[in-house]
């Protein structure tokens, strides 16, 4: 990622179907899309855009397994090593009684871990001021953005033509 300011040339579409067609065309024409911004998750966009599958669920499994082991091993340690007590004539290591808490901590660890990972990898946190290309992107516009640092005028014309022909309702540049 470049730390310098980015010149961004972007176009807004009124409909997600137009967006999908436009992204497909941009890909066919080997245009280097910086990012696509939408007001809601547009299904079918990821494969066209070439986004790889998220690995968040794998992380979730690891966090969950950590929770399982933490809970189960901790209770085992407490009741067999640290302070063994007999409750209701049951064995010290009464596994069925450990199941509820083991399950709850599995879920708790998985949920907290995944949510924290999600915000971390997305770079989202309270106080983060991400540049917003257009106020309508979170409302009803679908945006394709190109980074145009050092683009020649013919390359810019290419992009303009692309937006015009794919039916973008608004095109603009912004330095972010």
């Amino acid at each position: 990622m470049v730390t310098d300011s980015k010149e961004v040339f972007y176009g807004l579409y009124d409909d997600e179907e137009d967006l999908l067609v436009a992204v497909q065309r941009a890909k066919n024409a080997h245009l280097d899309i910086m990012d696509v911004y939408t007001p809601f998750p547009v299904h079918g966009l990821d494969p066209i855009l070439g986004l790889s599958e998220s690995r968040l669920h794998i992380a979730g499994f690891v966090y969950g397994a950590t929770g399982t082991l933490t809970a189960f091993l901790f209770m085992t340690w407490v009741f067999t090593r640290d302070w063994p007590i007999i409750f209701g004539g049951k064995p010290y290591w009464s596994v069925p009684a450990f199941i509820p808490i083991t399950f709850e901590l599995t879920v708790l660890f998985a949920a907290i871990g995944m949510v924290v990972s999600f915000y971390t990898v997305c770079g989202l946190a309270p106080g983060v001021e991400n540049p917003i290309l257009d106020d309508r992107i979170t409302d009803d516009k679908f945006c394709i953005a190109f980074q145009t640092n050092g683009f020649s005028s013919s390359e810019m014309n290419n992009l303009k033509g692309f937006f015009k022909s794919t039916g973008a309702s608004k095109v603009s540049t912004k330095v972010i």
């Binding site: 808490i101 949920a111 991400n130």
Partner: protein, 596 residues
């Protein structure tokens, strides 16, 4: 891209809304000054809450003796209210998690408010065990932390401790789930706001941008959270029921308690969702987003879970008789005919008879009756918990200890206070956050908006992207030697051997660029994307591809796709490429989802 929805489905978003209309409608309550109804409701709720807070302080100051609990009756209104509130909380997670896994689109209209309700209800519930401890300032003793008393650990074998873990996990996970859903909507509010409001909502939205990769991760997160919240919600009331079921007290010591409690929880939770949403729908003007279809769907769940609860009540009676265990039998005689008979019959009428009225479509779709019956069900479910707790404890094994329990004003006051707290929080929520999930409503608009589905539909439910065919803007002219389709045009021209007329050119362009492969029955937007990615863009491409190679593409995309059978796609595509639309249509009518 719109998902496949049967045309006989009723629309879930009415009023011919555009995306922008949805934003306007759903952001409006957070942007306007509150109306008179809200102010009155808020003052009332604050008043009730203040009285409850006073009663809690009274309890802590005077001691737990200010409640009418005694030697035998050690649980009274406190635990009744605790179980009642926890039960109400269950509908939120059911709607947002289980219905997400079942792909029920109607959940999008009510999930946000129901999840908020869950969080507030669990907060109210958690209050009761805490103050019942008597010494509230020692509440942290319930957590296993290293301490100077040994360290002496908590009893991990006790259902009361399981409760601590279950409820704190439930609260945390619900909060995370709810907030993650809210983040994109806070961004929507932010981008409409200015000044300080913009700053506040930017903080709340964590700087959300709507980037495609973020949305992808967001959907994964929602799906996996839903997956783990589903067993969680079932575990919570199961564990609450263990508080009773693992004891050896007649009437409590039954294996039916976990499923019966969970069904009852969902039953009461949906009743509360309906009570709240029918008011919110009117006051916040959400009739286009919470339609009669939503109300009917929820009433069907009430009918199902209410019937499960009814069967459970009868099963308890049967098992008491069948057990030939006199103490168990006495417990149930005592419930129906003993000193608390009124609560038992209140419970039976409210919970067993009321939901059966929803077999009638007229009742299910009537806003008035739904509202009325939802309140009756809430009352009935409160009675149920009271019956289980008070009647059982009032008649234990030693007749000399028998007594009759009546709550003091302090206990009643705390209950009223939690109702106040619940509504204070809910009313603030309606002003701060969009009550209906904006982004999720938008994502179902193309499949469930009334302009796309239902009797007034104007568009086909799969609107064709106009620009896919229309290349009259001359897009391709910009790509000199840069675009493979341009080459194919040149080839086609040279093959035809004569100067192609200008009129014919768009046809050639269209054929060479991209066809709508979704016209082929069995191919949806996702599969179309896969085929495009593999270089199959037109009907001709598809017709020329072998069945094996298409199956290979599907298999490579994972098990969700490999089950599709592309046997007929090539032949369908050939018909489409030849322009034999009528023939194709006739054949598709015979095909079952694209399969022969």
């Amino acid at each position: 891209m719109s998902a496949v929805v049967s045309s006989i489905r009723n629309p879930l978003v009415t009023g011919n809304k555009s995306y922008h209309d949805i934003t306007e409608d759903l952001c409006a309550p957070t942007e306007k000054a509150p109306g008179l109804q809200w102010v009155i409701g808020f003052i009332l709720a604050i008043t009730l809450f203040s009285f409850g807070a006073f009663c809690i302080i009274w309890t802590i100051w005077m001691g737990i003796g200010s409640w009418n609990l005694n030697r035998t009756i050690n649980w009274g209104w406190d635990i009744t209210n605790f179980v009642w509130w926890i039960g109400i909380g269950h509908a939120g997670t059911l709607i947002s998690a289980i219905l997400l896994l079942f792909r029920q689109k109607w959940r999008t209209g009510v999930n946000r408010a129901a999840e908020a309700m869950t969080i507030f209800a669990v907060m109210c519930a958690g209050l009761f065990p805490l103050i019942h401890m008597g010494r509230l300032w020692l509440a942290f003793f319930i957590f296993p932390y290293p301490n100077t008393r040994g360290p002496l650990w908590v009893n991990f074998n006790s259902p009361l401790l399981w409760d601590v873990f279950a409820i704190s996990t439930y609260f945390t996970v619900s909060l995370l789930f709810w907030y993650t859903g809210l983040v994109p909507d806070f961004a929507t509010v932010r981008d409409r706001a200015s000044g300080v409001r913009k700053k506040i909502y930017n903080t709340l939205s964590f700087g959300w941008t709507g980037s495609a990769k973020h949305w992808q991760r967001w959907e994964y997160l929602s799906l996996v959270l839903a997956g783990i919240a589903t067993p969680l919600v079932l575990s919570v009331h199961t564990i609450v029921s263990f508080d009773f079921a693992t004891s050896v007290i007649p009437g409590w010591h039954t294996t039916i308690f976990p499923p019966y409690f969970v069904a009852g929880a969902i039953f009461s939770g949906f009743a509360m969702v309906l009570t709240l949403m029918l008011v919110a729908r009117k006051v916040l003007n959400l009739k286009d987003y919470i339609t009669v279809e939503h109300i009917e769907s929820m009433n069907k769940i009430i009918l199902l879970t209410g019937s499960i609860v009814g069967v459970a009540y009868l099963t308890e009676l049967f098992v008491a008789w069948y057990s030939v265990y006199p103490y168990e039998q006495f417990a149930f005689f005592n419930r129906a005919l003993g000193p608390y008979y009124w609560s038992y019959w209140g419970m039976m009428i409210c919970n067993v008879i009321t939901p059966q009225l929803f077999w009638s479509k007229k009742m299910r779709t009537s806003v008035f009756w739904t509202f009325f019956l939802s309140i009756i069900i809430n009352v009935g479910m409160w009675f149920e918990r009271f019956v289980i707790i008070a009647t059982t404890l009032a008649r234990d094994y030693i007749p000399s200890s028998w007594s009759y329990y009546v709550p003091t004003w302090v206990e009643i006051g705390i209950f009223i206070g939690t109702i106040g707290l619940f509504f204070v929080l809910f009313l603030i929520f309606t002003r701060v956050a969009p009550v209906v999930a904006i982004a999720e409503i938008k994502s179902i608009l193309k499949s469930s908006g009334d302009q796309y589905v239902g009797k007034d539909a104007k568009h086909h439910s799969h609107p064709q992207p106009a620009s896919a065919y229309d290349d009259s803007n001359g897009f391709l002219q910009y790509w000199d030697g840069n675009d493979s389709s341009h080459d194919s045009i040149t080839i086609l021209k040279s093959v035809s051997g004569e100067a192609t007329s200008v009129v014919a050119e768009p046809t050639v362009l269209k054929a060479s660029l991209k066809d709508d492969l979704k016209k082929v029955e069995g191919i949806g937007p996702k599969i179309e994307g896969l085929l495009n990615a593999a270089g199959i863009n037109t009907f001709v491409d598809l017709a020329n591809a072998s069945v094996e190679s298409i199956q290979g593409i599907l298999n490579a995309a994972g098990s969700r796709y490999s089950t599709h059978n592309p046997g007929t796609w090539g032949r369908q595509a050939q018909m489409a490429a030849d322009g034999k639309w009528d023939e194709l249509k006739a054949w598709q009518d015979i095909l079952d989802g694209g399969k022969e």
